[in-house]
Amino acid sequence: MGVRLTVSNIYKNYNGIPLFENCSYTIDRSGVYVLMGPNGSGKSTFLRMCALLENPDRGEINYFEGNRALPKDINLMRRITLLLPEVGVFNTTVFKNVAYGLKIRGFKNNKIKEKVEETLQFVGLIHKKEQNALTLSTGEKKRMGIARALVLEPEVLFLDEPTASVDWKNTEIIENIIIQLKQRLNSIIIIATHDKESTKRVGDFLLYIREGKIYKEHPDKQIP
């Protein structure tokens, strides 16, 4: 049984501007959720709060397994992962960047090698595994960031603007990765994006932030 994400009556101000007011939402099914909303509506803040990197001003964000609320500790943090808009590339090789999460979890070297190489193959970066990750293009850095998250097989994966500032070729590759992920991982994947077309291509569900609350729409619905 997978985890369930519950957002209960949250309030959040950012630099004095109210972003969320008494917002509640539950995600209890695996699939790709695309989160949309105008600039400054709080998409990134929402993802950071759900990834437990930031607290709401009021209200609660919880993860449940069955009826049991999971304690917000390092064990839970290691079941969820967020890809930041700026990937946060470590100054080392692509291989070591992707291996990072496994290394800190204490995986053995041969297992790390096997998993990292398989994931790099999946995102199409295996030929660059020994290259310093800082030398990758923006699109490749995003793909490496996705690989770095994917290798951990998270139960909940947040992708914040995965195709922003990325050329069409890398956008297509990233979208294909996400589409294949649906079959590969039985996870909740939440993507914050501005790209309406991308929403239709990859999303199972459309979430929309309006006036501080989250609404669920059909992916084909025209969003203003």
Binding site: I74, T81, L84, G88, Y100, N132, L134, R148, A149, L152
Partner: protein, 237 residues
Amino acid sequence: MNFLLESFKQAINLILNLDRELLQIIFLSLKVSGIALLIATVIGVPVGAFVGLKKFIGRGLLITTLNTFMGLPPVVVGLFLYLMLSRSGPLGFLSLLYTPTAMIIAQTILAFPIVAALTHSAVVRVTPVIKLASRTLGATSFQTTLTVIKEARYGIISAVIAALGRVMAEVGAILIVGGNIAGYTRVMTTTIAMETDKGNFELAMALGIVLLLISLMINFFMFLIQKKGVKEAQQWE
């Protein structure tokens, strides 16, 4: 001019013949400075990283103090240590005055603020997204700190090399607490000062050449590290 040239020739002879006294002085210098640098690094890097990464009351004051102490006058450190270690001082019972240990303590006091302050600068220059990325991948607070330190490695290595340059060239503090005892606490800088006073320029000049060569090597090494750091920083843009 002839006198200078003659002294220089004899100095080169001393170096080429691996003069026993010369080697002993060089070895003690490297030993004292090396141990002092090691201690200053072991304490200074975590302190610098902690100040750079954590917010606490008095942080600003601590940063200002570390920056100020980077320019500590060695003779003041020597005087302070002398008063502490002399027989009538509070640590006189340790009988450390005029020993290599006292010299190591003096040099550690001089090197520590340099390592800590420059480590702090290197750590705060690491982009905050690295810290956040580390947390999103499931790192504990300690693992995140280690990751940031690793990202700041070129700055930290430069800090350690800068501190080595400072302790190798230092004379005031070790002269006061070491006493320049032949075969026991006599190091390169104190010997140069003493031999120059005596008008015995050959040994002073030979040691001066060795000291300059060491300084040159340190600076060259620092240049290589900075070049690598700048090259990698440019890749961020």
